[in-house]
């Protein structure tokens, strides 16, 4: 059977894509959910200098979700009482006691986090040695789809991509060039030489997946717009179309009793 079952008990090992780098700018804060029997609720943030970090989405003080917080310089500040945390999770400042150095025991729970190849990755395990892709893609968009990852991979293997600079509707068959644990690359022949689409999968639940999509660099703007519309249509058809998909769903659900 496939690997999904154990992943939804333990949660996936290794690096998990949680955002396109362009969607988490300097001083940006976002929430990310990682699948598992007890899904992880995380805050992912980028400091002024560009460093990315991921913590449990819960302030150690009074439990406020840190994803409602804001970045000040190199620190994430909680919205409730303004406690500030460094990228190592350590509490650096407690505004109610401005002259006090917070004890090192006050610490947000951290996860490994890195910005690589245009994607922000998080890992919950100790072993972060597995390879990350080096596709050199350019961020297009992220989208949440009400389908499991297995089904989406199958649908992508049969998709057609828009390839024309002049018509949104001129499509060409796409082929999978590369497949990895977290990602796949589609290739199609287009007006603009070599069109590649990188899709990174973030499992949210067995039936919901976040897709982080990149294109090959230096594509004409018109084509990127067409691809963005294609992604919208792909989501719609994945969520709404056909018996075939339903039967795939049934197969994949057998593995998540």
């Amino acid at each position: 059977m496939n690997a999904d079952h154990s992943e939804f008990v333990e949660g996936p090992d290794g690096w998990i894509p949680v955002a396109l780098s362009v969607d988490l700018p300097e001083a940006g804060v976002m929430r990310a959910v990682i699948a598992g029997a007890q899904p992880l609720d995380l805050v992912v943030w980028r400091s002024r200098s560009g460093q990315v970090s991921a913590f449990d989405n819960r302030c150690p003080h009074r439990g406020m979700r840190l994803s409602f917080g804001f970045v000040r310089g190199e620190r994430l500040s909680c919205i409730y009482h303004g406690w500030q945390y460094g990228e190592d999770g350590g509490c650096r400042h407690i505004p109610a006691h401005p002259d006090m150095t917070p004890p090192t025991s006050i610490c947000a729970n951290t996860y490994a986090c890195q910005d690589h190849d245009g994607v922000v990755w998080v890992s919950k395990g100790a072993d972060n040695s597995d390879d990350l892709p080096n596709f050199g893609g350019q961020g297009l968009r992220s989208l949440s789809v009400e389908r499991g990852e297995t089904v989406l991979r199958k649908l992508l293997a049969e998709t057609h991509l828009p390839v024309s600079l002049t018509s949104d509707m001129q499509m060409a068959e796409a082929a999978i060039a590369t497949q990895t644990r977290t990602s796949l690359v589609l290739e199609a022949r287009s007006d603009a030489k070599n069109l590649r689409l990188m899709v990174h999968f973030q499992k949210i639940t067995p039936d919901r997946t976040m897709l982080h999509v990149q294109t090959s660099p230096e594509l004409p703007a018109e084509l990127r717009i067409s691809l963005s519309r294609w992604a919208e249509r792909f989501r719609w058809s994945a969520e709404n179309l056909g018996t075939m998909i339903n039967s795939w769903d049934a197969t994949s659900q057998e593995t998540h009793p």
């Binding site: 609720d41 989405n57 819960r58 150690p60 003080h61 009074r62 439990g63 406020m64 979700r65 409602f68 909680c78 919205i79 409730y80 009482h81 303004g82 407690i94 505004p95 109610a96 006691h97 401005p98 006090m100 025991s105 006050i106």
Partner: protein, 283 residues
């Protein structure tokens, strides 16, 4: 007394007195039980549980109070409510998806003013919480915090500019908190603002704000609106605290000196066996 008895046998607000006219009735939920509050044509209020049993009724501080159990004590007294010259303002219920105990604890907290009520009840860089005094008064079985001081840019509807404001906090019952604060038009007197909370379930409640103020100039609707705006800011916090229940295990959340009132409140709840809306062990 078992744990649930402490919660069951207490008084909770179930309606606003002057919004219930003769011959009218309304249904509310108190701790997962449906109660019907009705006022007869003679003006007398009755509260009836779903199984038809009559529930105790008290009317005070603009609210109708009842219980799904049998309280062995009278409703707490707020002596200031009987003072001449005060305006009584009830602000109506606000639904909060959080434990009633989290709602009360937030009401006892001043350190969040600069961040949650920015430029109204607090403002950076005036974030320091000076030491204050907290005690559990055993004779009355209440939590009190006194000598609390905090800088406020606009302390009340009637305040024009920033000032150090004095506060006192009183917790007469697990789901009620009363705050006393400097009264700008009448130095030496205290404005009284209370929060009465009705648990609907362990992590859902209705909070009723009630005020007894020395303020002859502000419009009633402005006073209500000011208080509602403040409370809606609190609600956006309360509905995003994890877990939704109030943790009574001291290992679960990390307090500092500014949280002395909250520490005493949690300890008092634990000692009383008030666990409705609380989480006892870390999960």
């Amino acid at each position: 007394m078992t744990t649930s008895d402490v919660a069951r046998n207490d008084w909770y607000p179930v309606a606003i007195d002057n919004l219930l006219t003769n011959g009218q009735s309304e249904v509310v939920v108190l701790m997962q039980e449906e109660l019907t509050i009705s006022r007869g044509n003679d003006g007398v209020i009755k509260v009836t549980a779903q199984d038809g049993r009559p529930c105790p009724v008290a009317i005070n501080y603009g609210h109708v109070w009842s219980s799904i159990g049998q309280p062995d004590h009278a409703l707490f007294d707020i002596p200031e409510a009987h003072e001449d010259g005060r305006r009584m303002v009830d602000c109506g219920p606000v639904r909060v998806k959080a434990s009633p105990l989290r709602v009360v604890e937030n009401f006892l907290d001043i350190a969040h003013f600069p961040f949650v009520h920015t430029d109204i009840l607090g403002a950076e860089p005036h974030t320091e919480v000076e030491p204050y005094k907290v005690e559990i008064r055993d004779t009355v079985d209440e939590v009190w915090a006194t000598r609390v001081r905090f800088f406020q840019p606009q302390a009340a509807k009637s305040a024009e500019e920033g000032q150090m404001t004095d506060y006192m906090y009183r917790v007469p019952a697990p789901c009620t908190s009363i705050l006393y604060k400097t009264c700008p038009p009448r130095p030496g007197s205290w404005d009284v603002i209370a929060l009465f909370v009705r648990p609907i379930s362990e992590d859902l409640c209705d909070a009723y704000a009630w005020m007894a103020l020395y303020d002859e100039t502000s419009k009633q609707s402005d006073l209500v609106q000011f208080q509602q705006m403040i409370f809606l800011q609190d609600r956006s916090i309360l509905e995003n605290q994890i877990p939704r229940l109030l943790p009574l295990d001291p290992k679960m959340e990390v307090p500092t000196r500014a949280d002395t009132t909250s520490i005493a409140y949690r300890r008092w709840l634990k000692r009383k066996g008030m666990t409705y809306g609380a989480q006892l062990v870390a999960r």
